[in-house]
Structures are given as C-alpha cells and as structure tokens.
Symmetry: C2
Subunit: 374 residues, 2 copies
C-alpha cells in the first residue's frame, strides 16, 4: 500500500490530545523517524510561517525570531522503543480512576509531550519569549546516535538559550536536572584448572563474591542540589564468567552502574567507583555521562515553576537535559505521562495530564499570571 | 586423495611405541571414529583369530573365550578432543629430562594406552585370565553419547568381569576408582527496575555474593576410601546474570560443580550441595555421576598392584571406571602419560612410560612373578 501524503496525518488544530494519537500512530521506532519528521516538517511549513525551520537528518529545529529578551529551548524526541503489539493507540478509561487514557507505544515516552509542544509551536506566533522548538531522532538508542547531540555538534549556534525544557514524562510536573551515570567493567582474574583438581587453580568467580557482598550492603547517598534531593545508586547490572562445566574459571566480568548526583563531577564519580572496586584486577570505564543541575534558581525557571505549580522533584534517570546543562543552559524535564510506564508494553497516558501540560506551558509562554517570563 | 586401505595404517607387531604413533595419526576427534575403528577391526580380523569380536557402532569388544577362572575387562577410548595443529605426531626429546617423547593430539588421552592394549590383545593368545578388550567411541563429549555406556546398555552380557582396567593416563601407575561429579544450576531471583531507581527493585546479582563468599571460604574434604585419599572440590564454574546496562537484574544463574569421594552416594552429594545453597531460589541438578570405589582389596587388584609396583593413588577426575563400578566391577585407571597434559595443545607422552605400561600389563596377564592372576 502506498501511504497517503504524510501532511494529512497530523492536525495540530485538533489540539494536543488528538495530536498525541496522530503522532503515536506514525510508527517511529529509533532509526525509522523519517516519516514522522517529514510529517512534522510539512505541518510547520504549512501552518507556522512565524518559525524558521532547520533540519539535521531527522531532527527539526524551529525558531521564533522575535527579538525577545529571553530565549527558551523546548525539546522532545520523535522516536520510540520497539512496538510490541501496542499500536495503533486506543482510547480507554482507567479502570481504577475512571480517567480517560490513551494506551499504546509512545504515549508516555514521549509523543504526548511532543504533541503539547507541536500544538503550541503552531498556535503561538508571538510568545513572550523567543522559543527554539526541537524535535529529534534516536533518543532511545546508543548515545552516539542521539539526534540532539548530533545537531548540537553541527549547529551549536541554533541552541543558544537561557533555559530549556525537555518533554520527558514527569506526570506534567517539574523534575529538575538529572543524575549522572557511569558504567565500568570490573574484572577478577584467576587461574584455570580442571575442576577435578580445583586446588591447583584460582577461582575467579569466587573472588567476585566480596564485591557483590559490599554492593549488597552499600547504602547509596541522597544528595541535595539546588534544593532538590538526588538519590544515587550503585549496582552490578551484568555478570559473566566461566569456561566450561569442568574448568575452574580464570575470569569474571561485572558491569557496575553508578547513578550519581549532579553535584559530583564525572572525575569524582569514577574515582569513587574505582576505590569501591579497589580489589579488582581490571577496571575499565565503559560509559560516563555527567548529571545536570536543575537550575531552579534561574529567573525563568522560577516563573515556570509558578505556572506549573506543585513541588518540583529531582530527576533520577539520566535524560537529555544533561546535553543542555553541558552547554551552560539550565534545564528541567516536563511532560505528561508516568515515567515508570516508559517502555512498558502497557504504556498509557492520562488525557488530563496532556491537557494540564498544555495549559501550563501555554500560560507561561504567553506571559500570563503572576510570573511573566519577560 | 583416496586413502589407502586402513589395515595398512596399523602394525601391532611393531610394538606399542610405533603403534602409538600410528593410532594418533589416524585423526579421530569425537564423532569421527569410523576410520580408526575400521582399522582396529581389520587388524583384529587379520591377526587375532583367538578373539571373538563384537561391534556396536564404533565400539569394538574383543573377547578371549578360554574358560579361565577370572575375567578382566581392559578398555580404552578411540576418540580425542579436537586437533589444534598438533597432528601428525612428532618424535622429540624432552628438553629437561632428555627422555624420548611423542608429541601430538591423543598421545596422552589416550592413544598410547590403546596402543599398549591393542599390542597385547594381538600378542597374547593365551593369557592367564580371560580378557575382554574394549575400544570405544565418544568419550570426550557428552555422557549420553559415550560408546562404552551405549555398548553396556545394548549388550551387558559381554561386559561381565571380575576386575576392570581403564587405560586413562596415570603416568603408568595405578589410580584407583574416581571421584563422583555433580553439577547444579543455582539461581537467585530479584525484581527488575530501572537502574536509575534501583531502590524500587531487588538486585539478584547482589544476592549471589554471599554464596560466592561461602564457596570461597569452603574447605573441601579429603576422604579415605579403600585406603586411597580422595580430595573433593566445590566450585562455581559458570555465572551469568543481567538484563541490560540500565536495568536492575532479576535473575542470576550459577553453575556449581561438586566433585565428591566415591564413598558418598549421589543422593548424599545432592543433599550436601542443596543444603550449601539453601538460600537460593532455584536449585536444579543438571549432571550427576557417581564415583567409583578403587576396589583395591580385590584379589585380582592386589596382584595387579604388585605387577605395576609403586604406590596407588586416588583418581580425582571422573572417568569411565565408574561405568564398571556401577556394574559391580571394581576398576582402576592405568595408562601412560601425564593426566595434566590431557587435552593440552602440547600433549606429549614419554616413550619409557609406554614401554613400562606394556611390560607391567603383559607380565600380569601372563601370570608371571609373585602374584599370578590365576
């Protein structure tokens, strides 16, 4: 079947809830974002003459150029984790709360957030701040493929901003900054021997027992940064060792993951884990990404807090806010949906959260209420 | 190239040393024993009219039928572990001892032992005991393929004997019986969670630490059976766990191998390991083979001990002697070669050990000396 022109698939004028359904039903598993990016680009070209649009692969950067005193970057990723018989989306009611929900892949992570952003990008031709809207590809796969990272490297000038909002799911509340994350491969060595003569060898798997016991007993810290409490974590996430059923193993590899508060530098994080694993024979850092301070003391952030209401919390998972933070732009996460349902097969977003996120972001961008952004 | 008739490859009259070379150079990695079994069968048909030969797949059973008071089973396997650029064999001298050696795949495990046996099978047309010679396939692979086990199931009547000798390498000394072996898959379970929120999950890998610590501290027993000391061993030989680099793992599997003295029943062995791993969530026995008592108190065995000389030791590795022991036939290991070199790429057998094994076995079978077998 030849697909219809993609511009027919999206109708931002129908509002963010309808747009959530439309965006979800354009399947866009990481690596397959071309069609959804084309659809968004066509809608922008047709309905948003007030935006200057740049494209980098399947990442779109749409900017107002109003000469406002402040500029805000508002971003969301277009891709999803693989579909598992959960598309197209369905309209349902939560059996517990009676609340209207949309169920299916991408509803939480993060088409509802993109829908809120895209609807406002089209509607608001004169926001109180200049806005850089960013919709990008390849968020759900390895970091080097990330479209936001790629576009930032290619055109850093397009991303200058005073504050950033990433539409990752937060139940339409503010989650500030994010923890950093590091992974290390920690290895213990031994000496092979036939297991019938085990005393002639050294069992590497046995040697790992003490580290696992220490990890089990370890109480990760809770660190307060800019008023938000970041809870850390130190865990073995993978282990493998063994040669054959009759051989004393000479090697065991353990992948350790440390989630660390944004007040720690990456050097401090590496040093802490290295010291924790000091008895290991090999230690190799395999992944390292700094956290992001929440930056909630910035003037713009305080206004956004007031518009959204509620009590902001720390984001414990690493998100692309860290990419803004690394550019010196304080950033928060704000989007509809429960983050615990991200990637779940029964991913579902409450309709009222989409509407509330849309209301709060719209009010703030228009400079309404007690905390104007200008 | 069309190979020459296989009967040309073996010349038992040239003695056990030359025959070792000839047997080794017929490549016979497990599963590929047809050619060597054909060659042995042709030699028996041509040169050993005093033997009644039965064939079961690539296993040959050649029996004297002299009506002697006692019968001895003498067995060796025809297969080897995979070749690794170590065939054909080479004649060398040990750089340390100056001793003549034959180097190459199968020299130790166990073509030299088979050569000693085959030379005597052809030569001795009237031994002092009836002899059941057995050369079999598939010893180096999984137990259910073992040719000795298969032939025992198919024709148990052919294997009745008062004593058995298995030609596994023992440096031409007697190693009595063997330890039993069991393997169990021991699993700890947990609860998955995103590793950024590790406190919402239960880390299964961490839960395994205590077992590894206990294994590390465990002092295996030394158990004396029929005068020989069997040293046991309890080891983790494999470990695997983990879902992804950002997920708290909900499962870890550890393969534990217990080598236990032949005085323990398999039930006792299972019970001991199960109790040791009592905190595990799952426990599955994946492999279980009883040990073999050395049976060195048997009259025939005492005579064989005297003929070989030296001090017998316990065999710690599991061998097919246990298959004889399970039939009620006491059994010992006796063959040229250092068992520590079995399967090694630089496998090599000292020529004097081949000659000594041949001399001792020949003298005993002829009823010479102070301890006649009859």
């Amino acid at each position: 079947m030849v697909s219809e022109p993609s511009s027919n698939l999206l109708d931002p004028a129908a509002g963010p809830v309808a747009l959530t359904r439309q965006l979800c039903d354009i399947e866009s598993v990481s690596g397959n974002e071309r069609r959804i990016a084309d659809a968004v680009a066509e809608v922008l070209a047709r309905d948003a003459p007030h935006l200057t649009v740049h494209r980098d692969g399947d990442t779109l950067i749409a900017r107002t150029e109003l000469g406002r005193a402040h500029r805000v970057a508002i971003a969301g990723h277009l891709d999803t984790v693989p579909v598992n018989e959960n598309l197209p989306v369905t309209d349902e009611h939560d059996p517990d709360t009676g609340e209207a929900i949309i169920r299916g892949r991408g509803t939480v992570d993060m088409k509802a957030g993109v829908a809120v952003q895209l609807a406002l990008a089209i509607e608001l031709d004169a926001p109180a701040v200049d806005v850089t809207w960013i919709w990008y590809d390849h968020e759900e796969v390895s970091a080097e493929l990330n479209g936001l990272g790629r576009a930032l490297r290619n055109r850093p000038d397009l991303f200058a901003a005073d504050f950033a909002i990433l539409g990752e799911p937060t139940r339409a509340e503010i989650e500030g900054g994010c923890n950093g994350t590091m992974r290390a491969r920690v290895s213990y060595l031994g000496t092979r021997a036939h297991s019938a003569r085990s005393w002639t060898g050294v069992n590497a798997i046995h040697r790992a027992g003490n580290l696992l016991e220490r990890l089990s007993a370890f109480e990760a810290e809770r660190v307060t940064v800019d008023g938000l409490e970041y809870r850390e974590g130190l865990n073995a996430v993978q282990i493998s060792g063994g040669v054959a059923g009759n051989v004393i193993p000479d090697r065991v590899d353990i992948e350790v993951n440390y989630r660390f508060a944004p007040s720690r530098s990456t050097e401090e994080a590496v040093s802490l884990v290295r010291e924790f694993c000091a008895d290991a024979d090999e230690f190799e850092v395999t992944d390292l990404a700094p956290g992001a301070r929440p930056g909630l003391d910035a003037e713009l952030a305080r206004g956004f807090l007031a518009a959204v209401g509620g009590v902001p919390e720390a984001k414990v998972g690493w998100t692309d806010v860290a990419r803004f933070s690394a550019q010196g732009v304080p950033a928060v996460n704000f989007g509809p949906g429960d983050p615990l349902l991200a990637h779940a097969d029964d991913e579902r977003v409450p309709v009222p959260q989409i509407e509330e996120a849309h209301r709060a972001l719209r009010a703030w961008l228009l400079g309404e209420g007690a905390n104007p952004v200008t």
